[in-house]
């Protein structure tokens, strides 16, 4: 069942990114570019996605565990740290630069051409070195 749920979730995610147009870097950059030809589509995608997820989070408060018996993820401590904000700022800069984030980068791989492959390769390399970068960020705080 675990793998069936995984496949179903991945398929819905991929289909949703595809039909919403979120694998088109112009639409993503169009949303971020408030001084250009602004494209509001991304707001509808986010809003549409948040609705079923909010319902799902509500359901988790009524049940003791997921359907396969794994406990629901605990709520993180509401602490805003340097990793969260610094990492998100770095991500946002890259997201705006290419118009791709991790989900659409994978979803568009079959039709995104060489550019999509180059982005994915660089993103995987970034993920591989990220533990080192995170430690650097932490030690710079310790030194400060």
């Amino acid at each position: 069942m675990r793998l069936i749920f995984s496949a179903l979730a991945g398929a819905l995610f991929g289909a949703g990114l595809f039909v919403s147009g979120m694998t088109d870097t112009r639409k993503v950059q169009g949303w971020l570019d408030i001084f250009g030809n602004w494209d509001p589509t991304l707001a509808f995608v986010m809003g549409g996605a948040i609705l079923p997820m909010a319902l799902a989070w509500w359901v988790t408060t009524r049940r003791s565990a997921s359907l396969i018996g794994v406990p629901f993820p605990p709520r993180a401590e509401p602490v805003l740290d340097r990793r969260l904000i610094g990492g998100s700022v770095l991500f946002g800069l890259g997201w705006g630069l290419a118009g791709l984030c991790p989900g659409p980068a994978i979803a568009s791989l079959s039709y995104g051409g060489t550019g999509g492959l180059v982005f994915l390769a660089a993103m995987l390399a970034g993920m591989a070195v990220s533990p080192v970068m995170a430690r650097l960020l932490d030690s710079s705080r310790a030194a400060a």
Binding site: R2, F5, S6, A7, L8, G10, L12, G14, A15, G16, L17, S20, M22, T23, R26, Q29, D33, I34, V45, M46, G48, A49, I50, P52, M53, A56, T60, S66, L67, P71, P78, L80, R83, G86, G87, S88, V89, L90, G92, L93, W95, G96, L97, G99, L100, C101, P102, G103, I106, A107, Y111, G112, G115, G116, V118, F119, A122, G126, A128, S130
Partner: protein, 143 residues
């Protein structure tokens, strides 16, 4: 075309949220693309590798299967400037893993739970994304 875009955006968004709901209620996990992929890259998700791989395979294959059903333009319009792609890819890969989430994990799953960290991360990457367009498009003109 613009009139239809928001409807497709909403429909696609509902599908993305439904996927996240299946992953949460079925497997007890948060559907975050960077976490699912990154856990395989740095080895932290080795014990759940099978569900990660199946999720990623479905994410990759499903759009490919939908392409023949589509008559509209599906081009990603991705830049052919390799320096831009490499810089952006590295920033996205490092940033999402350090922040422990991206648009799906912090944006969709975090905001819908009213998570302070998810909301703060989303504000941070949206603002940085806007700044990125100002700097790289309007000031430097590289994109």
């Amino acid at each position: 075309m613009i009139e239809q875009d928001w409807i497709w955006g909403l429909v696609g968004g509902l599908m993305i949220g439904a996927g996240g709901a299946v992953y949460l209620l079925g497997n007890g996990r948060i559907m975050g693309a960077s976490g699912i992929l990154g856990g395989l890259i740095d080895g932290s998700g080795r014990s759940t590798a099978a569900e990660r791989l199946v999720f990623l395979a479905a994410l990759l294959v499903t759009p490919a299967l939908l392409i023949p059903l589509y008559s509209v333009d599906i081009s990603t319009h991705v830049t052919d400037n390799w320096a831009v792609l490499v810089a952006a890819g590295l920033a996205v890969g490092i940033g999402t893993r350090i922040a422990n989430g991206c648009t799906s994990g912090h944006g969709v799953c975090g905001i819908s739970r009213l998570s302070l960290r998810g909301i703060a991360a989303t504000v941070a990457f949206l603002v940085a994304g806007g700044v990125s367009l100002v700097v790289f498009r309007h000031i430097l003109g590289v994109i």
